[in-house]
C-alpha cells in the first residue's frame, strides 16, 4: 500500500489508530499541543492527502482549506453534520462515513434507553448499591414498556431497526420524515408535533442537517407530554436542550433517555439530578464489535481510494 499521508484528528480508537499507522503514513494532530495545531498543519500540509475524523470532530472549512493536497475525508461515524460537505464538493474532496455497521448497536441502545428510562433500571441499581432495598410498603411503580406507542423521527436504517425491535414488544410504531414511505406496518404522520402527540416514546433517529436542527422543540416536547419519554440517539443538535431540561424538571415531559447532547461531553447539571432520565455518554455505536467494523470500513474506504476503486460508503 503506497504511503498515503493520513491525518488523524483525534485518537478515537486504538485499533483504528494502529491499523492506520501500519498501513499508511499516519500523522496525529494531537501530537501537537492545541495552540500549535495550525503550525502542525502548515508544516505537514503537502503530505496530507487524507483525513480521518470522528462524528464530533468533523472537518470544517478552515481545516479543509489548510490542506491543499486533501483528496478524501473518512469519518469514523455515520453522522457527517460537522464535515463541511459543500466545501468538499467544491474542492472535489471525497467524503465517506460508516453506515450500516453501526445500525444494530444504535438501535439496541435506543431500545435499551427507552426501557431503562420507563422502568428506571439505573435508578434501581443505584438505590441497591446505596443499600436501599425498597421494602413492600413503599414499592415504586414504573409503567410497562411493551405496547407503548413508539414514534420514530426518521425511518432510515436506524429508524427501521428500532421499529423492528419495537414490534417484538407489541409496540405500535409510527414515524415522521419528509416523505411518506407508505409502510405496511407503521403509521405515517406528516409533522413531528402530530407524531409526538400520538406517541408514548419518541425516538430521534434522523441525520442532522438544516431541516432537522432543533426539530424537537417546545411544541413537540409538550405534545409528547408529562407521561411521554424522549429518546435521543441522533445528535444533540436535534433538540432544544434548554427547553428539554426545563420540561423534564417541571414535569411537562415524563422522562428521557439521552445518548447525545448539545455540547459533549458537558451534560446539563439539572439533568444529573433527575430520576426520570437515563444519561449515556454518546456510546450508541460503542461496542467492540461495531467499532472494529467501523474502523475496517474507514480503512477499506481509504484503501479503495488509493487503489482507485469505487469507495465503499461515500457521502460525497
Amino acid at each position: 500500500m503506497e504511503s498515503l499521508g493520513v491525518l488523524m484528528l483525534d485518537p478515537m480508537d486504538d485499533y483504528l489508530k494502529q491499523e492506520l499507522g501500519r498501513r499508511f503514513q499516519l500523522l496525529r494532530l494531537w501530537d501537537a499541543p492545541p495552540d500549535r495545531h495550525d503550525d502542525f498543519l502548515r508544516a505537514n500540509a503537502e503530505s496530507i492527502r487524507a483525513v480521518v475524523t470522528g462524528g464530533g470532530s468533523g472537518a470544517d472549512a478552515a481545516l479543509i482549506d489548510a490542506l491543499p493536497g486533501l483528496e478524501i475525508i473518512a469519518s469514523y461515524s455515520v453522522g457527517v453534520d460537522r464535515v463541511d460537505l459543500p466545501r468538499c464538493r467544491e474542492r472535489g474532496i471525497r467524503v465517506t462515513n460508516t453506515p450500516g455497521v453501526l445500525t444494530d448497536d444504535v438501535a439496541d441502545l435506543a431500545v435499551g434507553l427507552a426501557i431503562a428510562a420507563l422502568r428506571r433500571i439505573p435508578q434501581a441499581d443505584r438505590y441497591l448499591r446505596a443499600g436501599q432495598w425498597k421494602d413492600n410498603g413503599d414499592y415504586p411503580l414504573t409503567t410497562r414498556f411493551s405496547g407503548k406507542r413508539v414514534g420514530i423521527i426518521g425511518l432510515g436504517r436506524i429508524g427501521l431497526a428500532i421499529a423492528k425491535r419495537g414490534e417484538g414488544f407489541d409496540c405500535p410504531v409510527s414515524y415522521y420524515q419528509r416523505r411518506d414511505l407508505a409502510h405496511a406496518n407503521y403509521t405515517y404522520y406528516p409533522t413531528v408535533v402530530e407524531l409526538a402527540r400520538n406517541s408514548d416514546v419518541l425516538v430521534v433517529a434522523c441525520s442532522l442537517n438544516e431541516q432537522s436542527r432543533r426539530i424537537v422543540d417546545r411544541e413537540v416536547i409538550e405534545a409528547l407530554g408529562p407521561r411521554g419519554v424522549l429518546v435521543n440517539i441522533g445528535r444533540g443538535g436535534h433538540v432544544d436542550e434548554p427547553e428539554l431540561v426545563s420540561a423534564l424538571v417541571d414535569g411537562r415531559l415524563g422522562g428521557a433517555g439521552l445518548d447525545v447532547y448539545a455540547d459533549e461531553p458537558d451534560v446539563p447539571e439539572a439533568l444529573m439530578a433527575l430520576d426520570n432520565v437515563v444519561l449515556a455518554p454518546h456510546m450508541g455505536s460503542g461496542s467492540l464489535e461495531t467499532r472494529t467494523a467501523m474502523a475496517d470500513l474507514v480503512l477499506g474506504n481509504l484503501e479503495a481510494h488509493v487503489l482507485k476503486k469505487p469507495l465503499l460508503t461515500p457521502v460525497v
Binding site: D104, D105, A107, D108, L109, V111, G112, L113, I115, A116, R119, I121, P122, A124, D125, R126, Y127, L128, R129, W133, K134, D135, N136, Y139, P140, L141, T142, T143, R144, F145, S146, G147, K164, R165, E167, G168, F169, D170, E264, P265, D266, V267, M272, V278, L279, A280, P281, H282, M283, G286, S287, L288, E289, T290, R291
Partner: protein, 320 residues
C-alpha cells in the same frame, strides 16, 4: 379478637377469604365489598373452620401447618406467578386447587429481562453513573462494551415469560435456544436437553422458569463455566435458581462476563461483593411492579375467586 360468629353466614353474604398477609393497597381497594377478608392469623375457630379460600398476597410462605388449620380449604390463591413459597406437596395431598397470576406479569417480566440484558451488555446503568459523577468530562469516553444484536440467547424456561423474552430478542436478530423440562413443539426455537449445554451454546443466559426442587441451584459452577468468559447471566425468575455464592465467585474471577439480577437467594439481602462491580446490574425484585401488571394480577385473583365460589373452572390453576 372479633366475637365468634353465632350462626353460619346467610346466603347473599360475602364469601369468606382468609389472607396469609395483608393485601396490597390496590388489591384491598379493588376487592373491598366483594369478599369478607380476615387475616388468617386473626381468624377465630368458626372462621378457620368455614374458610374455603386462602389468598396469599406477595410471597408469604404457606406451610402444611398453615393449611392443616383450615379443614374446609379448597383453594390457595396466589397473587404472584411463582408459587414456590407455597407447600405444593401439601396442597396436592389435600386435593387443594392452587391458582397464580397467570399471564398478568409475563409482559413486564419479559420486558425487564430484556432491559437487563441491554443494561448489562451495553453498560447502560454503569454509564449513567459515569455521566452523573462527571467522569465523561474528566476521564473521556466510556470503554467499549458488548454488542447485543445477533448474539446467541439461551432461555431457561419457555413458559409465558420465556416465550415473550424469546420473541423480543429474536427481533434483535438474536439466535434463540431454550431449555425446559420438555420440548415445546410449537416453539420456533431450538430445544437443548440440559442447562449446561444451553449455557455452552449461549452468549446470554436468561432464567425465566419456576423454582422447584428440580430447578433449585440449577445454575451452578458447571453451568457458569459453560457460559464462559464472554457470557452474561440474567435472572428474572427466582434467586434460588442460582448458586449465589458461586455466581459471586465466578463474577469476581471473570469466569463469566457479567450479570443482571432482579432476584436473590435471600431477599432483600444482596451479596455485598456485587455492589462494587460495573459488570452487574442490580434490581430489587421490581420486574413486575407496574400498574399494568398489578391490574392484571388483580383481575386474575378476582376472576379465580369468583370462579371458585361459583363452581366454574378456575382461570389460572397451577398443575400440582
Amino acid at each position: 379478637m372479633p366475637p365468634p360468629a353465632l350462626e353460619p353466614a346467610a346466603s347473599g353474604d360475602k364469601p369468606l377469604v382468609l389472607l396469609a398477609q395483608p393485601l396490597f393497597p390496590e388489591f384491598a381497594a379493588a376487592l373491598k365489598g366483594r369478599y369478607r377478608f380476615v387475616l388468617a392469623a386473626d381468624a377465630d375457630a368458626a372462621e378457620a373452620a368455614e374458610a374455603r379460600v386462602l389468598l396469599v398476597p406477595g410471597l408469604k410462605t404457606v406451610t402444611a401447618e398453615h393449611l392443616d388449620r383450615l379443614p374446609a380449604l379448597g383453594l390457595v390463591a396466589a397473587t404472584s406467578v411463582g408459587v414456590d413459597h407455597v407447600d405444593l406437596d401439601a396442597c396436592r395431598h389435600r386435593g387443594l386447587a392452587v391458582t397464580n397470576a397467570g399471564e398478568a406479569f409475563a409482559a413486564d417480566s419479559a420486558d425487564y429481562g430484556v432491559g437487563l440484558v441491554l443494561a448489562v451488555m451495553r453498560r447502560v446503568a454503569a454509564a449513567d453513573s459515569y455521566v452523573r459523577r462527571g467522569r465523561w468530562a474528566t476521564d473521556g469516553d466510556y470503554p467499549l462494551t458488548t454488542k447485543v444484536s445477533g448474539k446467541r440467547v439461551g432461555i431457561v424456561g419457555l413458559g409465558r415469560i420465556g416465550s415473550l423474552v424469546a420473541r423480543r430478542l429474536a427481533a434483535f436478530g438474536c439466535a434463540v435456544s431454550y431449555h425446559s423440562r420438555s420440548p415445546k413443539p410449537s416453539a420456533p426455537y431450538r430445544f437443548v436437553a440440559t442447562a449446561r449445554e444451553l449455557a455452552a451454546d449461549s452468549d446470554v443466559l436468561v432464567l425465566s422458569c419456576a423454582l422447584t426442587e428440580e430447578t433449585r441451584r440449577m445454575v451452578n459452577r458447571e453451568v457458569l463455566e459453560a457460559l464462559g468468559g464472554g457470557g452474561v447471566l440474567v435472572n428474572v425468575g427466582r434467586g434460588g435458581l442460582v448458586d449465589e455464592p458461586e455466581l459471586v465467585r465466578c463474577l469476581r474471577e471473570g469466569v463469566i462476563a457479567g450479570a443482571g439480577l432482579d432476584v436473590y437467594e435471600n431477599e432483600p439481602h444482596v451479596p455485598p461483593e456485587l455492589v462494587d462491580m460495573d459488570n452487574v446490574v442490580l434490581s430489587d425484585h421490581r420486574a413486575v411492579l407496574t400498574p399494568e401488571s398489578i391490574r392484571g394480577a388483580l383481575d386474575m385473583v378476582a376472576g379465580n375467586l369468583d370462579a371458585f365460589f361459583a363452581g366454574r373452572p378456575l382461570l389460572s390453576p397451577v398443575t400440582l
